[in-house]
């Protein structure tokens, strides 16, 4: 660190804290856990920022942001109390700031690059919280429609209304295109509404951000399964370009004996029943979601934490996470793991199920697990779990939730053989998100496999740029051979 970048006046070493619902209280409800911060606190937080300049030699916050937000810019406005100005900067880059300010893994992204955090005992600047503050401030005030360029008279279809589709759709609308988003479910938002629980991302907030995107002129049509209700051939005839962001919606299984027993559900089913179908209101809502006394969630990612924490809120007496590696390898965000532990979720590390048993009612009541130890690192860099032979043990269990990842949703690519896919079912694209079908682009989990909201948004953003380029410049479409590479 050079002289000029050192804090001239002393910065508070730690982030200003954000109040949260206490654990014993929040496991009784589905309300959001962190409660937000007031303007005074957030302005103090903004003043912690060093306003670093980006250079080739030194990476700063924005280098960690998949959508390239001018972070120092909006923090400067925030520190001056100019919230309107801060929102304007944020919204230039990010159409879903209230979502990102809640679910982004900032610690590995923007905040992971924060220069302040390189000082001993210093926290990074709380960029995520500032984003959240500005987004919430704007939503409370009421969205103002941004000035839009003249319409270009070109129509674009977006398939899927998750983070990738919403981002691509909003960016294209801002560029002057007429955008129609098709969503298979009855509500827009994709994983933001069916997957991420209310206590982490309130659905009213997702709805508000979707409404903002509609305000940009984007039309959202729900209840349309592209590939079934309308084919890609039909769509490509109507629209000048198509963006596919159908996500990773196919649950993975372990293919163990007894896995089809009652009481064993995919994380997707459990979370969709709870979030999209609002089973937590049952019988006030019509979708049931049976939950046993002892719930075991398999997996260690954010989805696993969501399942384990939701189970507690639905009345489970014990909620366990069984994970085959150790705490150090948990792929979930630290904050999620921390929240889960605070709420009383118990962890069984270095274990994995091998078989399920049931009583005469057909519901699972017991599972056999094997013990694991960590071996050499695998291609992901994490140490590979190895089975300890002869050390199996049993656990009583009433409900098992399988949260070991999702595969790409196959409906569209199955119905559209022209789209080239990998052996994992992801759609093959080039560096401009172009698929093997002319005029058709794809991004998000359908291309990368299951990843994060913000990476999908980054992909959607790149695709919007690429679609604009495709519709304004006369470039040849890449050949299939090129896509092979």
């Amino acid at each position: 660190m050079t002289e000029e970048q050192k804090p001239k006046k002393k910065r508070a070493p730690k982030k200003y804290s954000m109040p949260e619902q206490p654990p014993e209280e929040r496991i009784q409800n589905f309300n959001e856990v962190p409660l937000g911060q007031d303007a005074e606190t957030i302005m103090k937080e903004a003043k912690r920022c060093l306003q670093c300049k980006r250079s080739e030699k030194r990476k700063i916050c924005v280098d960690g942001c998949p959508v390239g937000i001018d972070i120092a810019g909006f923090i400067m406005k925030l520190s001056e109390g100019d919230f309107e100005g801060g929102v304007a900067i944020l919204k230039q880059y990010n159409n879903l700031p209230a979502v990102c300010g809640r679910v982004c893994p900032y610690e590995n992204q923007c905040e992971g690059y924060c220069v302040l955090a390189r000082l001993k005992n210093y926290d990074p600047v709380a960029i995520g919280r500032m984003e959240r503050f500005l987004a919430d401030w704007e939503r409370a005030r009421g969205f103002r429609k941004p000035e839009l360029p003249p319409r270009k008279g070109k129509k674009i279809a977006v398939v899927g209304s998750g983070p990738a589709g919403l981002t691509a759709g909003a960016d294209l609308a801002k560029k002057g295109y007429d955008v129609t988003i098709y969503e298979a479910l009855h509500a827009a938002g994709g994983v933001l509404v069916y997957g991420i629980p209310e206590f982490r991302l309130p659905k009213a907030i997702v709805q508000a951000e979707v409404d903002y995107i509609k305000m940009l002129g984007v039309e959202v049509i729900t209840d349309v399964v592209v590939g079934k209700s309308i084919t890609m051939q039909e769509i490509t005839q109507i629209y000048d370009a198509v963006f596919i962001g159908t996500g990773a919606g196919l649950p993975k299984w372990m293919n163990l004996p007894g896995e089809n027993l009652n009481g064993i559900l995919s994380a997707n089913e459990f979370l969709t029943r709870t979030n999209l179908m609002r089973s937590y209101l049952f019988p006030g809502s019509d979708t049931p979601n049976r939950i046993g006394k002892k719930v075991v969630t398999l997996g260690g990612g954010n989805v696993a934490m969501d399942c384990a924490r939701t189970a507690l809120r639905l009345g489970a007496k014990e909620s366990w996470i069984v994970y085959r590696r150790t705490e150090a390898e948990l792929p979930a965000r630290k904050e999620e793991t921390h929240h889960a532990m605070e709420e009383g979720v118990k962890f069984h590390f270095l274990a994995s199920p091998v078989k399920y048993f049931s009583d005469e009612s057909g519901f699972v009541n017991r599972m056999e697990c094997c013990k694991m130890r960590l071996g050499e690192p695998d291609e992901s860099g994490r140490r590979r779990p190895i089975i300890c032979e002869g050390e199996n043990f049993e656990m009583d269990v009433d409900t098992v939730l399988i949260a070991i990842g999702q595969s790409p949703n196959p409906i569209l690519s199955q119905a559209t053989p022209e789209l080239k896919t990998t052996k994992w079912g992801t759609i093959v694209v080039d560096e401009w998100q172009r698929t093997a079908m002319k005029g058709v682009f794809a991004a998000g989990d359908i291309v990368t496999g299951d990843a994060t909201v913000i990476l999908a948004m980054g992909g959607g953003k790149r695709a919007a740029e690429a679609i604009d380029r495709y519709l304004t410049e006369d470039e040849p479409w890449p050949s299939s051979e090129k896509l092979e590479k």
Binding site: H186, P283, R290
Partner: protein, 279 residues
């Protein structure tokens, strides 16, 4: 929103609804289904399409009152609107020429049997239809199916119409008379489909069944509808709903369809009170 264009009670507890859904009507094929949701807190339930009219932009569903949602559906009137109707979902019936096919429908399964019979007849097959109901009064779509069948047999559990007994009796009789049958299609109660497949197995006749597991999204996302076919996990919503009946684990399906019995009962009781209170 999806308006109910026409509604009639075919027999007590069985309702026909014609729904405005142009996109679905345009692409609908025999064997497919829709996911339907009545209101914002409603459940998404799969219902088979009995018919569709692309020009008019409507689809026809026939629902039997079994749970809260279908009971509520029964109370709806012409002009009412539904929160969500998605489709056409699932793979279509392979409407090719087999030769002679026997189509068997039991109870409300007859609703799905109708477009399948029509498609198989159009594909040039000789179609023998066997329809079963509890009693003559609950038999649906007799004329419609008769119009597309070369032969039609009716069975009732109480003998009030046609053969006094099960659809499987008629199938067995047909096979015992050593009639040439190239394919059997069965849709109805799980136990009926299981019995049919047990009958055709020794004859090695291709037997297709249409399964009805519990679904949530209906688009391959959740795995609620997973079934075991030839020992492999399949999702009825995207891999089915039709499967090779000789390879289906019916016992598993019976067990899995019991998952929410208690909750269904609770919902029905509550609904009954609501309806009474409202009257």
């Amino acid at each position: 929103m999806y308006e109910i264009i026409d509604k009639k009670e075919l027999t007590p507890g069985i309702h026909l609804l014609e729904i405005n859904a142009p996109m679905i009507a345009k692409n609908a094929k025999a064997g497919q289904f829709v996911m339907l949701m009545i209101n914002d807190v409603g459940e998404r339930i799969p219902l088979t399409m009995a018919d569709w009219n692309a020009e008019k932009g409507t689809i026809t569903i026939i629902a039997l009152e079994v749970g809260k949602t279908t009971m509520n559906l029964g109370k709806m009137k012409k002009g009412d609107k539904l929160r969500s109707v998605v489709g056409p979902l699932g793979l279509e019936t392979e409407g090719r020429k087999y030769g002679t096919v026997v189509c068997i429908g039991g109870g409300i399964g007859i609703a799905l049997m109708y477009p399948v019979v029509r498609a198989l007849k159009q594909a040039g097959n000789k179609v023998i239809s066997i329809m079963g109901a509890k009693t003559a009064e609950t038999l649906i779509l007799e004329d419609e199916i008769a119009a597309h069948s070369d032969e039609l047999f009716i069975c009732t559990d109480d003998g009030t119409k046609g053969h006094h007994g099960f659809v499987s009796d008629i199938l067995k009789q047909q096979l015992d008379e050593s009639k040439q049958v190239d394919m059997v299609y069965a849709v109805g109660p799980i136990i009926m489909m299981k019995v049919i497949t047990d009958i055709t197995r020794p004859y090695e006749i291709e037997t297709i069944v249409s399964l009805n597991p519990i679904m949530v999204d209906g688009t391959g996302m959740c795995g609620s509808c997973r079934v075991s076919v030839d020992g492999k996990m399949k999702f009825a919503c995207v891999d089915g709903p039709e499967f090779d009946g000789h390879k289906v684990d019916f016992q598993l399906l019976i067990e899995r369809n019991k998952r929410y019995l208690e909750e269904e009962k609770l919902a029905i009781e509550r609904y009954a009170k609501e309806v009474q209170g409202g009257d």
